[in-house]
Point group: C3
Chain length 428, copies 3
């Protein structure tokens, strides 16, 4: 038996979670969080009730759907929520009526420019009902026909669920990861976020002597992060010195970065360093391009150092918010690339320090076996990176700063620091 | 009757003022200032006497001309000051002589590369006489002829005039505008400056509850600004927080900006913001390209925050300092564009503030009718600028800063602040 | 008799010094320093003994060679140290053996890509012997032959020599120049450094009332600078405010600059200013490209403001570290260009000041004969640089700052300051 790669493991989790009908609240979120708790046993599933007030917002009622379909005059089901939960506009109210084509048409959503995609549409804060379907299918509907539309849904008092996992470290200072679990059957946006975050937490559980404390939250987007912040703001502002919003991190087309509002936090610098060394052509977005939970984490007065490392960013790939954002778009390799980028960011955080050389002038590396014993044209080039590294070990530049200045991956700096610490030349 | 546009009104003023023979001192300046006082009744016309010492300079004598011409042997007037006051070198002394061509030629000024232009020449600080004419005409002069040159001019003790208008505001802090009235019959450099400044003052007179005090000065260039600074330096340094030198602001070929010596004052930032949103291709000059009264206002030890917004800059358009700089070059549209740029700068100054949102995290805009009630692909784009605007309402970025960061005209920021203040979400 | 140019004088010195077999220590260094002492009588030749410990390093034994050659079976000398001292690997131990071609070949060094060049190879810190030869010659060796290799060399306790010259100035603050004297018969790297430094010291000896103290050191590279720093660190850190490492400054192909580790010291700024005005296309290297004694002078904790002005940089020209780096590559013109660049740097240091104008607003230059008396189109351009210069004489910008801002050579600023000081307008 071949051991599965971490990418394959994550992809399998995404397959299991894909069919669940997630929304801001309700059974879908609970099923999802319970699934993740099996992987991360210390994950704590929490809730706040409908009507809970968080800053300017109020937790909505829970929404559940027992069935939802459109039938034609012959009883043929044209559109059925059971086939794809994107067919139903999120938060749709109940209906049971016979309609003309024109009456029905006012409640239909499709994408003329993507005729084979079912769009993802929600109406969380205004009561509505509607169906989403491919534009191809919509165009084939009989304009003279009658249609039976049935939605059996319920909006009732309940709870908004979210989950939290804290992995303590030597320091109480925290690194924060947030991802969201409110999207129905779509893969890059947004099963990639929860599965990569889960894999990252699982990896960190196995790391001995974690230097820092790690906090992971799995929440519904927007209302979830607002609720979470409203309950934890003081703690987060005191403890969190780096953080990442984990979203759209599963396809394999590109890497991208979206800054925090401040733009120059430690998280921002690390994200850019890590991505540059994975893919020099990674895409840099601006705060003005944002659209996920960094909107809350970096809002005025909240101001957490939360940056975003992504593969293809929400809104920027054609399959975004449609049924085409599926598990063929998100691949084991895509997920693994995203996981590795975040892991590399953690490795920076865990290993950064201010190295200081303890001799004046250059050390005599030859006598320590770290320098070519013969000097000929070009011989110095072989140790150039290491000599550059040493030249900045002044106790004022961090390992991260040095990696940036001499333009080597942080991983290489770790190698140098190990080699030079072993020689007793440098302390970090 | 159609109401005339402000551009047409300014152009008419320029037409009225064009024929006057202005110089540093004398009747021409007085006629000009008296004309402007009819439009701005509170304009105060002031004077300092010949011999008045201002820093390193001394106010010169008044110069007046009763007639000035060149006649040929047949009594034909070849060149006559009455036809165009540029024909006479400014500050020419009296002369009444018969000269050979060669003797005459040493006193003639023309432009070989612009054969149809009469150049503008002055000799304020060395006694001289001379005539300016088109190069075409000069080349047709009979080299064997005799010429009768007559200049009846007078240099005598008198005064240097300038005018000042102060429009008080709620704050004693001042915005300063300076323009000059010493150029004879030329239009962009320099009737455009006085007429646009006059229109701006007239508009501000009608603005209710001016937040700041506005000070306008109409002066002869260089000696005028030096005299003005010598009398008002302490006051100006205490009160003026933004200022503009108004010159070359009447043609319609381009917009341009010349910085203060410091280069990064509030005036500089506003000028660049305003021009960028009027014309992304506006020309940016450097302090090293200067040549107008910013030389005095920004001199070491004076250091007022005075920037310059222009249309075609002095020295940079072919008609500059010739008879071709006339009222066909300066147009109603050109003047109106210049006026609007300065008005937009004043609107920034009057409306700038530090907006602060009074909820944590993003506000729930849906319940206030400010957000689409349905979420589908692209729906967030419709409110993106407003959401970006809100994201910087942290009490630390000014309305101006935010406009710059999110790259929208300040006017749009005013719209957002009105809308969001009305919703009670933001205070400025 | 025509007087020789300084370039010719320096080239003659280099010719005299070229044949000497220099190494880190020993007779070659002593002969070289004694030669220079004839030109600079106050040069002090100093020494530290073998075994002297300087930070992480130990002064090695002296190395001397009486003969070194390879003979073939017929007694023909194929390679002889007497012909070119590069033929012998530096610090080679003694040997006297008959070898097969294969045995010999393991001790030979040549450059396949430069078949006519003898490479420069040393093995200072590991005992070895070897010969360097052209690749052409190596390829003609008889693979079936026998070879007699003889090296009569000695490693014994002795001293490491270096020399120092201090030219006192009005201020105890010091300008520091360092160059190295350990390379055998090569010209750009490295006889150009000692001869240009010598010429510079000679010139400065003749400068009346030197404002600053000048310190010149002639040392073996690396071990020499480390020894020198170990003996003088406190003094250097207290006194030296500008310094230059002088190397590779004799060919005439380009100019180049390598920064100090800090990158923005006064020396760095001056070096860039001077080179920009000599050659706008001069090459800018980075600290990461370094490879000479700035490695020691700028090491963490040493941190002297030492920048490097070069012609073709070590490692960047094909003849580097081979017998082709000879006195046809280094020319009188090349040396003179390098000398002039360093001299210009010294002229900045000696003449820099903070000029302040003593009138407010612009001065009336006309009455001082410094401004055109007639104002016509373009007349201001003739005095534009001077007017720009004056506009920054605010006591806050140095003469150097002003030269940079208005983009004129420092020399021109000196001219202006003389002219304006004479008029009593500006004090420096």
């Amino acid at each position: 038996m071949t051991e599965r790669s971490i990418g394959q493991v994550m992809h399998k989790w995404a397959e299991d979670l894909f069919p669940i009908n997630r929304s801001l609240t309700g059974e879908g979120v609970r099923q999802t969080l319970n699934y993740l708790k099996k992987i991360l046993p210390d994950l704590e599933i929490k809730s706040v009730p409908t009507g809970y007030e968080a800053f300017d917002w109020t937790v909505p009622e829970e929404w559940s759907v027992s069935e939802a379909f459109i039938e034609d005059e012959h009883g043929v089901r044209i559109v059925d929520f059971k086939v794809n939960n994107l067919h139903l506009v999120g938060y749709s109210v109940s209906v049971d009526e016979w309609l003309t084509f024109d009456e029905l048409n006012a409640h239909l959503y499709s994408l003329p420019e993507q005729p084979d995609a079912i769009p993802y549409v929600t109406s969380y804060y205004t009561k509505r009902w509607g169906f989403c379907l491919t534009h191809s299918q919509r165009q084939q509907l009989n304009k003279d026909g009658k249609y039976h539309v049935v939605i059996k849904s319920e909006h009732k008092k309940g709870v908004l669920n979210y989950a939290e996992l804290v992995l303590p470290g030597v320091s109480e200072k925290e690194v924060f990861f947030s991802t969201y679990v409110c999207h129905p059957s779509m893969a890059n946006n947004e099963l990639s976020g929860p599965v990569v975050t889960t894999a990252l937490a699982q990896w960190l559980m196995g790391v001995q002597d974690r230097r820092y404390t790690y906090r992971f939250v799995f929440i519904p987007e927007t209302i979830g992060s607002i609720v979470y912040i409203s309950k934890n703001l003081k703690h987060l502002k005191q403890k969190v010195f780096a953080g990442f919003n984990v979203t759209c991190i599963g396809d394999d087309r590109c890497y991208s970065y979206l800054p925090s509002r401040a733009g120059d936090t430690y998280s921002d610098k690390i994200a850019q360093h890590v991505l540059k060394h994975i893919d020099p052509d990674y895409k840099k977005y601006s705060w003005l391009d944002r659209g996920s939970d960094e909107r809350q984490y970096c809002a005025p007065g909240v101001d957490l150092p939360v940056a975003t490392i992504m593969r293809s960013k929400y809104g920027e790939y054609p399959e975004y918010h449609t049924s085409l954002d599926d598990l063929s778009l998100v691949t084991p390799g895509g997920l693994e690339g995203g996981f590795n980028a975040l892991k590399a960011a953690v490795e920076v955080i865990e290993n950064d320090c201010y190295p200081k050389i303890n001799v004046l002038c250059e050390p005599q590396l030859g006598k320590r076996g770290l320098y070519p014993t013969i000097s000929e044209k070009g011989s110095a080039d072989k140790v150039r990176d290491m000599m550059n590294f040493i030249s900045y070990c002044d106790g004022e530049h961090s390992l991260f700063d040095i990696s940036e200045i001499i333009n080597i991956p942080f991983k290489s700096s770790i190698t140098y620091i190990h080699k030079l610490s072993a020689s007793g030349l440098i302390k970090c």
